[in-house]
């Protein structure tokens, strides 16, 4: 297992985020020919919502791989956590199995996952510590949008409205797609780009 694999994970994720931003901006700036008629805004809005959901999925997959790769660089803590002898030889498949196969587990919410990440990763390779608070706040905002889009529940709607108030001083509720289109896609670009900036912050001292 090499540091290169970790960096590749970042590059791959960053490229995918770049593509999503470019696609989203093409949608917002009317550069795609497949919209039309009275439903144009609605169609654009739906696509942007899908791109947001996709970004969240990519983030989750990126974080999942990152945890596996970083543990592989220094698996001592995982071995202690799981009670394995320190001379056990672990490969990526085994690490993945130990981390994820017993129950559904996800680390995308870094704030909440901090304690477990601290228990699994050595200080040297805990790149999640490099993430800035503002970046985590933005990711949390994205997940308010994502949760509302995934459930359309009253609770999720209330959470999202609170997030609109906190982050943008909005007083009224906006459907996520309409919010993402606003101001030439400023919010869309800013929130999705934050995923890439977060990844860059993580790798800044790792190169």
């Amino acid at each position: 297992m090499s540091r290169r694999t970790v960096l590749q994970n970042h590059t791959h994720f960053q490229d995918q985020i770049d593509n999503i931003i470019q696609y989203g901006l093409d949608i917002i700036n009317d550069r795609l020919s497949y919209f039309g008629g009275d439903q144009k805004q609605q169609q654009k809005s739906m696509l942007l919502e899908s791109l947001l959901l996709r970004s969240c999925a990519l983030w989750e997959s990126f974080v999942e791989n990152e945890v596996v790769f970083l543990v592989a660089l220094e698996p001592t803590k995982l071995k202690s956590e799981t009670g394995l002898p320190q001379n056990t030889r672990l490969n990526l498949k085994l690490i993945r199995a130990l981390l994820f196969s017993d129950t559904y587990r996800t680390y995308y919410n870094i704030e909440q996952s901090k304690p477990i990440l601290n228990r699994l990763l050595s200080d040297k390779y805990n790149l999640f510590k490099q993430i800035k608070k503002e970046q985590l706040d933005k990711i949390s905002f994205v997940y308010k949008l994502r949760n509302y889009l995934s459930h359309y529940s009253v609770f999720a709607k209330r959470q999202l409205l609170n997030a609109y108030k906190k982050h943008c001083s909005y007083k009224r509720f906006l459907e996520p797609g309409m919010f993402l289109i606003k101001q030439k896609g400023k919010h869309f670009e800013n929130l999705i780009h934050n995923f890439k900036l977060t990844s860059l912050s993580m790798q800044v001292n790792f190169k």
Partner: protein
């Protein structure tokens, strides 16, 4: 004096506006009106902010400004606020601590910039002479006073660099030549002057945008729209004189093909602000500049020098219109203008906006990765890594562009690609299908060079740098690569039709 300087700087440092009395706030939270002391408006931003950009710089003691100066000196304490229509400001992300105070993230002084600069110059002079009478002053002494006292806060530093010494000297000279006003100035008490009132209207951009169905407007463009509308009715003398005097000839000769092609679609504005209907409009200067950059009327060096200039462009065309035997040149210019206008609108403007967003993202990434250490913003960037909003603003300020700095270079680059088709219509030797990629590449190359130059630290002012031959070399490799890749041929259309005006 130090106390006063600290107080006025503190107002800017805190990004606040404190009214003299409780302000009026509209029920829809979109407007605030009231009166503020002069000290509150001294350093309000007016160019390239998230709240918009005011197109007018301070233009010295022209007629209206002279009246403002006289009115201020006559009775700033009582009558001035009733004689002056007040200032207009756009704010982004305002908060209201009480019924007298508002704090904001970004601000754009959209109307009243001339008045503000006059007030600011008077305050600076008063502080400079500090209880002594007004005398002649050397430029370097004044600049050193500014540097010593106003260099530590970025927002103020950025603004006072537009207080040009020649404009300060103009006011000093005027006062020396007018005893009555000189006496008023000498008697003026700085404290009461700073507390004299001016009326203010504030447009709260976020609330305005919040209820707007137009998704394409952001705070910058909404603020700029307001600023431009506020300034459209102002006279810009040199343009108006040229446009009015030559309207018929320009319409019949220079803009003949443009009028044919854009009939009822785009109106040419010969006097700034004259087209008020809801139609697309373009100012004569925008169109004339396009032709100049091809070199059809002047030598290369004069193309460079005329970047973002007005008077030399008007002079060139004034002379051209007076000349005999220049029909071919005029006909060629008439054909060039609509083609280049189309390129500007269809490719350059949208690609520049795309690039601006892309570069903003890229430079933020570089900031996070610690790759901006060698630029002029390196130190500031490292102190802002935990403040995304400020980092974004800092980068955007440095990424911002003036299309009149970039468009001439693009035209200069493609000047050998004009050809007349079978129907005698002017076209490029690059096919329509290849143009998006061609112009995208060219815009990116030229704009990138522009940003790099800015970030490397300019040896002189930006306007001097964009008039340099070296800057005009940007995009050359991209041009050659695309031209060869698309097998586009170069033509002698410009040289064949040129008429160099000396």
């Amino acid at each position: 004096m130090d106390k006063i300087i600290a107080e006025i700087k503190n107002i800017k440092a805190k990004n606040t506006i404190i009214f003299s009395e409780s302000y009026y706030k509209s029920c829809d939270n979109k407007t605030i009106m009231g009166e503020v002391p002069f000290k509150q408006v001294l350093f309000l931003d007016y160019r390239e902010t998230e709240a918009g950009s005011n197109p007018r710089e301070y233009n010295g003691l022209k007629h209206a400004n002279l009246k403002i100066l006289q009115s201020l000196l006559k009775d700033y304490e009582n009558m001035f606020r009733f004689l002056h229509s007040g200032i207009i400001v756009s704010l982004v992300n305002p908060t209201f601590t009480d019924d007298k105070t508002t704090q904001y993230d970004d601000c754009c002084l959209t109307n009243g910039n001339q008045t503000r600069f006059i007030v600011l110059i008077l305050v600076l002079l008063k502080l400079f002479f500090h209880k002594t009478e007004l005398k002649s002053v050397k430029g370097k002494d004044f600049q050193s006073f500014i540097k010593t006292n106003f260099d530590d806060i970025e927002g103020i530093r950025n603004l006072v660099r537009f207080v040009k010494f020649n404009k300060v000297a103009e006011i000093i000279n005027y006062l020396h030549n007018n005893k009555k006003y000189l006496e008023s100035f000498n008697k003026m008490d700085i404290d009461s002057f700073l507390n004299a009132r001016i009326r203010i209207q504030i447009n709260l951009i976020d609330a305005i945008l919040d209820d707007l169905d137009d998704e394409t407007l952001d705070t910058y463009h909404a603020g700029t729209l307001i600023a431009e509308a506020n300034n459209d009715t102002q006279n810009v003398k040199v343009d108006d004189i040229f446009g009015t005097k030559n309207r018929r000839e320009l319409n019949e000769k220079i803009f003949k093909d443009f009028n044919k092609e854009y009939h009822r679609q785009v109106e040419i504005e010969f006097r700034l602000g004259e087209v008020v209907d809801k139609v697309k409009k373009v100012h004569i200067l925008t169109l004339l500049r396009l032709a100049v950059a091809t070199g059809i009327l002047c030598k290369e060096n004069d193309i460079f020098k005329s970047t973002n200039q007005r008077i030399p462009i008007y002079k060139l065309f004034e002379r051209l219109l007076k000349k005999d035997n220049v029909d071919n040149t005029i006909m060629a210019i008439s054909k060039i203008i609509p083609l280049l206008y189309k390129i500007r609108v269809n490719y350059i403007e949208p690609y520049l906006e795309d690039c601006k967003r892309k570069f903003t993202r890229e430079y933020k990434e570089k900031a996070i990765s610690g790759d901006l250490g060698n630029t002029i913003i390196g130190t500031q960037v490292s102190s802002l890594l935990n403040n995304d909003r400020e980092l974004q603003k800092l980068i955007q300020r440095n990424i911002n562009y003036n299309i009149e700095h970039i468009m001439p270079v693009i035209v200069f680059r493609i000047r050998m690609l004009f050809r007349e088709n079978e129907k005698n219509k002017l076209d490029l030797t690059i096919s329509e299908a290849n143009r998006p990629d061609f112009f995208k590449g060219l815009v990116e190359a030229v704009y990138k060079k522009y940003v790099e130059l800015k970030l490397a630290g300019l040896p002189t002012s930006l306007t001097t740098v964009v008039r340099d031959k070296k800057y005009y070399e940007s995009g050359y490799e991209t041009y050659i690569a695309f031209k060869n890749f698309y097998k586009s041929s170069e033509t002698d259309y410009i040289t064949k039709n040129s008429h160099i005006i000396k």
